[in-house]
Symmetry: C2
Subunit: 246 residues, 2 copies
Amino acid sequence: MIVITTKVVSFAEGRLIEADDVDVTERDQRVADITGIDPREVAVIYEESDVLGAIPIAEIGEDLLLEHAVDPDVAQEALDDVPSMLVTERNGRLCTNAGIDWSNSPEGKMTLLPEDPDESARRLRKEIEARTGADVAVVLSDSEVAGPGSMDLAVGCSGIEAIDANFGRTDLYDQPKMGGVDLVADELTAGSALLFGQADEQVPVVVARGLEYEDGEGVPNSSGIVRRGLRKSIELTARFKAREWF
Amino acid sequence: MIVITTKVVSFAEGRLIEADDVDVTERDQRVADITGIDPREVAVIYEESDVLGAIPIAEIGEDLLLEHAVDPDVAQEALDDVPSMLVTERNGRLCTNAGIDWSNSPEGKMTLLPEDPDESARRLRKEIEARTGADVAVVLSDSEVAGPGSMDLAVGCSGIEAIDANFGRTDLYDQPKMGGVDLVADELTAGSALLFGQADEQVPVVVARGLEYEDGEGVPNSSGIVRRGLRKSIELTARFKAREWF
């Protein structure tokens, strides 16, 4: 099984945009003013995804981020460049900034996610099979904000069932267990990220051997779950928390 | 490096509670009525953690969960047993139901997380060194709800820096990069979960070899970040989303 960072796949597919070529609308400028995100990036994010909300990353996490900085000046510069992130839904997945990234991109360019990451994984898988005869699963990986840091998660896959279909098994005591919906492709990707590194390591591919997995196509569409989940969770919480809000 | 499921550590530390011995207050009963969670579990959750909110798991994810079920009847029973989860903060970490679990517990008992999971990891590490002379990092792992499924994440650790202190490095193009805050311990735990399994596999320990990591103690305290993050993100989102709420 092969885990590949989306960055190299995006490069190979020409998914780079010259920032100065982007048309910025009034709405893009307004959202840029409020969030501190480059208006040209806002424009591309809206084009690439549905925007659900925003996270003021710098305001929330500045202390923790500077504490874990190699060079405080470079870190402060990064925070000034990206004070907030938009929460977006793209290809049925929740992500930040539609997966758009300026880092490790040539000056003045943004790198977009592959147009259809599942399809990219499928194509790479076929190409590997055609060239080598090997039938390997392919997972595309991208870094995402997760709690107090970031993790790599699966954004596209082919040849592996992304979710372990084990819900409704019984446990050791023969009781129905609320589990077995393991995000296998995400767990594999997260583990692979230990070998990628995130800045200038230039390791874009990890080969994983020995893991048993089911055949399948595509990362799960969590779109409905995330939207409904946010709304319904706020509703349920309000029913018993209204008077003692956190 | 050794990754151990909290379940066996909790067992070893006697962190089991007889449900019938739990005193239920009026508040616990009210929250139980609203959320469908067993009132005795609600009582223990409030004792073990700060309650921030609730997620109506069954209402949100029923379709997806039944689709990934081995046995639809057992799955439906699990959903009826656990229709919602409380969002809690415990030892500075965000988790659901304070990490309390009925599954793989003897009938009528709940398993609680180790009282101080970082301390448990430290103790296990010392004990391993005392008995074998080997200086290994120890990470305690627990399953958590994550998007459309669940993943194992680190709830305690010793001998490994949980966050990669690389924020503020430059990328290949010498630009400051918004990254390098990799949740190393979480990524390691997620990868290990591929070998644990979640129901009756009885594999509670994974030995990981060959990974380079920094020395450190404890999982990051994300408490302030999560609370402030939720509040500030809702505020920022409201500033540009108020009229077109999702």
